[in-house]
């Protein structure tokens, strides 16, 4: 899958979980900059991504994930 396809799908998931589109999905975007993205919604976002891409994150993957760019990289490495 192309990187921009992954980005597009992640964006759809974020919009559906957070119920708004008030963010721009750049590589250096962090959760704290997005309204409503807290610990609770983070868990739902992560499980939605796992479902969508049919992957499973390790806790070690998650705690090294500092921004959207890192998230996309991890998804990309897991599905290839």
């Amino acid at each position: 899958m192309q990187r921009n396809n992954i980005v597009e799908k992640v964006k759809e998931i974020l919009i559906s979980v957070l119920e708004h589109e008030g963010f721009e999905l750049t590589d250096d975007l962090v959760a704290a900059d997005v309204s409503g993205w807290d610990s609770l919604t983070h868990m739902i976002i992560i499980s939605s991504i796992e479902e969508e891409f049919k992957i499973k994150f390790k806790l070690k993957d998650l705690n090294k994930m500092r921004n959207i760019g890192a998230l996309i990289d991890i998804i990309s490495s897991k599905i290839s």
């Binding site: 704290a32 610990s39 609770l40 806790l59 070690k60 705690n63």
Partner: protein, 498 residues
């Protein structure tokens, strides 16, 4: 004696281990010597202000300056009132107004507060350090924490140096042995009193405190700290451990020596599984209202043995050294062991009262004869039972006060602000189990049309994020009970069906 037991102990640690790490904040380590230098320079900064007031506001950023401010304030015999930078400015201004604060310490150069109010703490760098030890008065305040209040106004719990000193003494008496090789987790907001235990206990033992930056997703960052830095001493809210649960099979923290559970009731099934992830740790359940200084009862969970519980929640055990706990009925009579009642606590850890809140103080404190002597007891609002071994079992709140993410909140405060946004019509907030299994807040408004976004926006301007409902509903008419009050139970059942 706070000065002897805490301040002098800390100063002794600094001179003994100047090159040991005192803090790890956002991947940067700071030594005791470095921290001490900042504390002493901030003291000079505070002295130069010539404050007449014995309390000062503190914007609690996640940085070394903020922790140094706390020690500087204490060493000057003063108390701090924490203001969270992520809370709405309106709420912080309300706290500043209520606590009658004249000055606010802030390490952020873009402070949200007016110039005349703010003391920029990073301006202390060029100042000469103040190192002398002054005798701190035990009845002076160490901090005032503002907690949720149902009248729509937060209420301030005053904790004195004596309260805090008594707490530390009793806490260590439980049997914790820490030294300068320990690495301790501090994952609580400084507006929440458990944070004080998390940084203060390590710093009087020469251990290192690991903090969590505000902008990080807490549970995954905390796991990173536990795993990368071999944390030895960790204090956790059960709801955070619950977030780690899907990953328990990957977690194996052999270096963790102590795991404290606190801030909310601990589900026994969760703790059984968590104990497997931390094979060498002693596990404790701690209970305590802010009014009795951080924790005042304790129960040790012992692996592979009989564990006491109530409704699936771990027992809260026995009172701390110096704390008296009694279970009373509605007529303030002591109930027999095995019978439920409201818990009241007494002792040197109990606050002298709420800041300038006479009405609440009359409701919340009673004089009661105990062992032939009259003692002042705090009414906890918690439903408890004393078993035959005199262990306390916890059955939840008696009133409309609940805990979300470890924060104690009164649903009435959310309802108060919600009512204002819809022109005074009725509003009921209640707790439901969200998708993640954690407790979340739902709000139901008695109105025929609903603009959810507008309500969320106006609530966000008044309340911290953990008090914002995750679901909002409306009903044309609320169901009433026989005394013509809104029937909360029936309402909740109706909503669940929607």
């Amino acid at each position: 004696m706070f000065c002897k037991n805490i301040i002098k102990k800390f100063v002794e640690i600094v001179s003994k281990y100047p090159e040991s790490n005192a803090f790890c904040i956002d991947d940067t380590f700071y030594t005791y010597a470095f921290f001490w230098n900042l504390v002493c320079k901030q003291r000079t900064l505070i002295i130069n202000q010539k404050l007449t007031d014995k309390k000062v506001g503190l914007v609690v950023n996640d940085d070394l300056f903020t922790y140094a401010s706390i020690f500087a304030v204490w060493m000057e015999g003063m108390g701090y009132v924490p203001l969270h930078p992520k809370f709405p400015t309106d709420r912080n201004l309300e706290i500043i107004r209520q606590a009658e604060l004249h000055k606010v310490l802030d390490s952020n150069i873009d402070s949200e507060f007016d110039d005349e109010l703010v003391i920029q703490t990073n301006a202390c760098k060029s100042l000469k350090p103040t190192t002398r030890i002054i005798d701190v008065q035990d009845d002076s305040l160490a901090y005032i924490l503002f907690t949720s209040g149902s009248t729509g106004q937060p209420k301030g719990v005053q904790i004195s140096f004596k309260n805090l000193d008594s707490f530390i003494d009793a806490f260590l008496d439980v049997g914790f042995k820490l030294d300068n090789t320990d690495r301790c987790l501090q994952c609580f907001d400084l507006t929440f009193d458990v944070s004080v235990q998390c940084f203060l206990v390590p710093l009087i033992h020469g251990a290192c405190v690991y903090t969590v930056p505000h902008e990080q997703i807490k549970y995954s960052y905390v796991f990173g700290l536990l795993d990368d830095h071999d944390i030895t001493f960790g204090i956790f809210a059960p709801s955070m451990i619950n977030m780690l649960k899907p990953y328990f099979d990957e977690i194996d923290l052999k270096k963790l020596r102590y795991s404290i559970l606190t801030a909310e009731a601990s589900p026994i099934d969760l703790i059984n599984e968590w104990a497997e992830c931390i094979p060498n740790a002693r596990v404790f359940n701690f209970y305590g209202p802010t009014e009795a200084t951080i924790y005042c009862t304790c129960y040790e969970f012992i692996r592979n043995s009989f564990v006491k519980e109530a409704n699936g929640m771990l027992a809260i055990g026995k009172p701390f050294k110096g704390v008296k706990a009694v279970i009373l009925d509605g007529n303030l009579g002591i109930v027999d062991n095995g019978k439920k009642g409201e818990m009241y606590v007494s002792g040197n850890q109990v606050t002298q009262g709420y800041w300038k809140n006479h009405e609440r103080n009359i409701e919340a404190f009673i004089e009661l004869d105990y062992d032939g002597i009259s003692h002042r007891f705090y009414k906890t609002g918690d439903l408890c039972l004393l078993d035959d071994d005199n262990d306390i079992l916890y059955y939840g709140r008696l009133d409309n006060q609940v805990k979300i993410q470890g924060y104690r909140i009164e649903l009435g405060e959310i309802e108060f602000h919600a009512r204002r946004t819809i022109g005074g019509k009725s509003a009921v907030a209640f707790i439901y189990q969200g998708q993640t299994g954690s407790d979340e807040i739902a709000l139901c408004l008695e109105t025929d049309k609903l603009d959810k976004n507008a309500i969320i926006i106006s609530l966000k301007a008044k309340l911290p994020s953990y008090m914002i409902p995750t679901k909002i509903y409306n009903l044309d008419k609320f169901p009433l009970n026989t005394s013509d009050k809104v029937d909360r139970k029936q309402l909740k059942e109706l909503i669940i069906k929607l």
